[in-house]
Amino acid sequence: MQNATPAAGPDQSGAPTASLSLVEAAVVCLRAAFPTSEIRAASAFGDSWAVVPGNLIVDACRALRDDPATACNMLVDVTAVDLLPRAPRWEVVYNLLSLAHNARFRLKVEVEDGPEPLVPSVSSVYAGANWYEREIFDLMGIRFSDHPDLRRILLPEDWQGYPLRYDHPLGGEEVGFTS
């Protein structure tokens, strides 16, 4: 993920580059809320994001939600990326949307690999995060502390393994030929 200025995307798609005011406001808000922590901001392909330390994610979401300059009142999506063999291995990505400012912002948390990667749950800030975090736990194996109901959501309760991990095979039947 380069620190590039927003690339000249195709005009027909019309995706707004995150309005500079929201991006700037978000970074200012985060740096003000956590003056002693490192907040790395970057942008590329029209999107902007900030990487925050895992233990601060709940407060960061709350700050971005409650600060009128950012007003990120909807959590659109929570997902995770497995960047094996890079370290830290996991990146948990929170896509936020501010309806008032009509702009998007992304928060990322980097998580080290280990037997039980752990991130605090943001379901106390956004009710919608509940199922997204369960899905990440189910498919990737990242646990969320203080989650009200952390159990598998898409696969059967007794399923072993985390399919969306990079080193997990696709599975299925052996076929006589492949494309």
Partner: protein, 161 residues
């Protein structure tokens, strides 16, 4: 033909088997078991243009205990497999299964950890209807082939000669 020529139009002679088979195939009621995209084509088959009711499949019964036919329409996934077996077991005899679509017949586009590679691993299938999704006419063709199959069924097992 002797009886019929004597009594005219008021008597038909046939075998009990033929009557039973005719009754069963002409009023085959499917259970609602729409899983994924094929379910939408199954709904189209039962809807106005491709009216399935004219072949006797008048009602899609919600309760498997009142249904004869299980049209497995769509991909069967790990969590759904025991449910499929249970629904199949709840249906009373005689019952038939149509595996509709590529995913139900063989796993289809999805050869992975999550999809059962063919419902014939779980329930015995009578007719496979290929397609992704199969056209409503294809499903109707499958049901008509099933009706032909039913009309060949025997009530009493024949002794090997």
């Amino acid at each position: 033909m002797g009886l019929e020529t004597s009594f005219g139009d008021s008597i038909i002679t046939t075998t009990i088997e033929k009557v039973a088979d005719w009754g069963r195939k002409s009023s085959i009621w499917p259970a609602t078991f729409g899983l994924a995209c094929c379910a939408i084509e199954m709904m189209s088959t039962g809807a106005s243009r491709y009216d399935l009711a004219r072949f006797g499949a008048e009602l899609f019964r919600a309760s498997p205990r009142q249904a004869d036919l299980l049209i497995v329409s769509g991909r069967v996934c790990q969590k759904m497999a025991p449910v499929l077996r249970q629904i199949y077991d709840q249906m009373p005899e005689p019952k038939w299964v149509i595996s509709m679509g590529a995913c139900a017949s063989s796993g289809g586009v999805f050869n992975n950890y999550a999809v059962i590679q063919g419902v014939d691993k779980i329930v015995p299938v009578d007719v496979y209807v290929p397609g992704c999704p199969p056209r409503p006419e294809a499903l109707m063709d499958g049901i008509l082939k099933l009706q032909e199959k039913i009309s060949r069924e025997r009530l009493v097992a024949r002794k090997a000669s």
